[in-house]
Amino acid sequence: MNLTETPEERTFRAEVQAWMAAHLTGEFAALRGCHGPGEERFDAALAKRWEQELATAGWVGIGWPQAAGGAGLPLGKQIIFHEEYVRAGGPGRLGHIGEQLFAPTLIDFGTPAQQARFLPGIRAGREYWAQGYSEPNAGSDLANVRTRARLDVERGEWVIDGQKVWTSWAQEADWIFVLARTEEGSQRHHGLSLLLVPLHQPGVTVRPIRQMTGGAEFNEVFFDGARTEGSLHLGPVGEGWKVAMALLGYERGVSTLGQQAQFRHELDLVIAAARANGAAQDPVLRQRIADAALRLATLRFHALRVLGAGGASHAAYTAKYAWSNWRRDLGQLAADVLGRAGDVVRADDAARTRLQQVWLSSRADTIYAGTNEIQLNLIAERALGMPREERKGP
């Protein structure tokens, strides 16, 4: 067990800090602290130029193996990059789904031709990806996917019909990986394939969904005779479920440390607000602020321990449940620190607006990427080995 940073890591940390200070300036200064398309001030074209700025400096694909065009940085340095990125006010990463979720899966399951075709675009910050999993009737019960794809043998193309929903940032993406039923009459997790589908085509309609925060991060995506090449299935045809689940595993990866740095930033905003309006003198709120700080430190230790163990430990299953509860409580704390002023929507106080966003957006955390109830089932069945409940579906 060694919990101190090496001199080399400290040097690297300073390097990232210096780079961020030098580059998150000029036109990019407008992106500072911006989370993404959910915010009114979000400028997609600018966000893409920022991704390319990162890519040029070699900050995209830092965790990919060098053979795949990445930097192959060791875990410690990846963590440091994500932390310093957020600490410097780096904006939400438009390329996140491509770089952090899709690319590692492509590296593990893709053919050499698929890798050669898609990795460079992601690495360069030129091509953006969306994730097509959930459907109106396949939420917690994801195996109930009904979007179907059939192979048009004549043209050697998949033809896709159906609907996906809650598709984050699809309005800015170029491609989507779609979990679709490729075997007619198949049930549950059998007969599914993960297809790589271009979004810019007549058969695809993307419709943003307005959230209770007012913004629109996610979308409905309709497929109506949409097409993609016959070779663009990731992993074997009919075994998409396995690949789709492997992809979810990367969601628990290194970028969670960057997410925690974001949480740290939000907590600092809450503390600053508490100091400004006197809430920091309230003994009950003081205790809750201290608790929030301690629990966040705990999330970090846990993540480092899981990542250090290669992410394979049973403890990994508990991560999402814990952080979502933490942030839900932080949202409540933000609201309580704001007090009555938190009910007022007016553009006169940027800090208040930001905390209102933390508060409102936190209500989604215990629901997306697997609800708390689903997480608890996973923990019980996979980490504790408790008996599986019988699952039935049409």
Partner: protein, 357 residues
């Protein structure tokens, strides 16, 4: 940052676990509870043969020269098997105090080798605890004596103390009120020299209790998980019902999130980091909270059986409950954290996690 233990550390832990599994089965524990028999010199001797009592003693004095990080693992085993003996007081806290004395000090030579071979028991009297565990069997009591400029360390033979036994709801515990009189003969360190030693002892003790709490939580979780797999209602194991699953998923989550806090504190103590006390308090609170949750959920999953004397769960629950108040209760540790985290000057960038490093 690397939270992984070495293969040697894991192997040592596993060996100790196997040893306790056979030597400290619940039936033996129950006997300690019900007969009032206290401690077994034979068991202590066997524990010493496992190397556990040598862990914290410097190599020059016949020990293994290991420390806090190893104890973070070992204390979990003590908790998991609810070892009733106050082993860590003799084997972890006392060597810490004694090894803090100047090299060549007579007390070191007199007691450290006996700690290693398991032939002595040392009780610890710290101002944070009104009572002293296992004082009746102690060959030596290391007592704190608060004075104006700090806290003196006294080494008091048992013949010089008067004891009153205090039965505990954890019937395997042996607590005593200790009456004694500090004098120049018993004094080992003056107030100034003693204060940092006692402060370090409190931190180690918090780690010890925290580790035991996690071990107890894990045991209660295992008992409840097994019970839920065996007990059937409505024609199915009750563990297949989501309501039951979610109780235990909550427990494992809390345990898995408390463990790294414990390890972080152990690393801070081992390295003598300036915020080690804050980390130790955090660890004790997080581990105790996990144990409370485990107890609450485990009894719920056991249903009425969990409320009985005959089912083992109650022994582990009660041990977890009483340990929570030992070596500083929650109010004490929260106050220590509050002082460190919420000090007016540090509030804008809260506490040791600020640098996130």
């Amino acid at each position: 940052m690397d939270f992984t233990f070495t293969e040697d550390q894991i192997a040592f832990r596993d060996a100790v676990s196997r040893f306790f599994m056979t030597e400290a089965a619940p039936e033996q524990l129950r006997e300690v509870w019900e007969t009032g028999a206290g401690r077994s010199a034979a068991l202590r001797k066997k524990i010493a043969e496992q190397g556990l009592t040598a862990l914290s003693v410097p190599e020059a004095e016949g020990g293994l020269g290991m420390g806090d990080i190893d104890w973070a693992l070992m204390t979990q085993e003590l908790g998991y098997y609810a070892i009733p003996d106050s082993l860590a007081d003799t084997a972890y806290l006392a060597p810490g105090l004694l090894a803090g004395l100047p090299a060549g000090h007579a007390l070191r030579a007199q007691w450290l080798p006996r700690v290693v071979d398991g032939s002595c028991r040392i009780a610890i009297g710290h101002p944070v605890n009104p009572w002293v565990a296992d004082a009746h069997l102690a060959d030596l009591l290391l007592m704190a004596h608060p004075v104006a400029d700090g806290c003196e360390l006294h080494a008091v033979p048992r013949a010089k103390v008067e004891l009153t036994v205090l039965p505990s709801i954890d019937a395997s515990r042996r607590l005593f009120e200790v009456r004694w009189h500090p004098d120049t003969e018993t004094r080992v360190l003056d107030g100034v020299a003693g204060a940092p030693q006692w402060a370090a002892t409190l931190d180690r003790a918090a780690l010890n209790v925290g580790g035991q709490a996690i071990g107890l939580a894990q045991r209660m979780l295992d008992l409840a998980t097994d019970y839920a797999a065996q007990r059937k209602q409505f024609g199915k194991p009750i563990g297949s019902f989501q309501a039951i699953k979610h109780h235990l998923a909550d427990v494992v989550t809390e345990i898995e999130f408390a463990r790294p806090v414990l390890y972080r504190a152990a690393a801070a103590l081992a390295a003598g980091e300036p915020d080690a006390s804050v980390r130790a308090s955090h660890a004790k609170l997080a581990c105790a909270a996990a144990a409370w949750t485990a107890a609450r959920k485990a009894i719920q999953v056991h249903g009425a059986m969990g409320y009985t004397w005959e089912v083992d769960l109650q022994m582990f629950m009660k041990r977890a409950w009483v340990l929570d108040a030992a070596w500083g209760d929650r109010a004490f540790h929260r106050a220590r954290l509050g002082a460190a985290l919420l000090d007016a000057e540090t509030l804008p960038s809260i506490g040791p996690g600020t640098t996130f490093a």
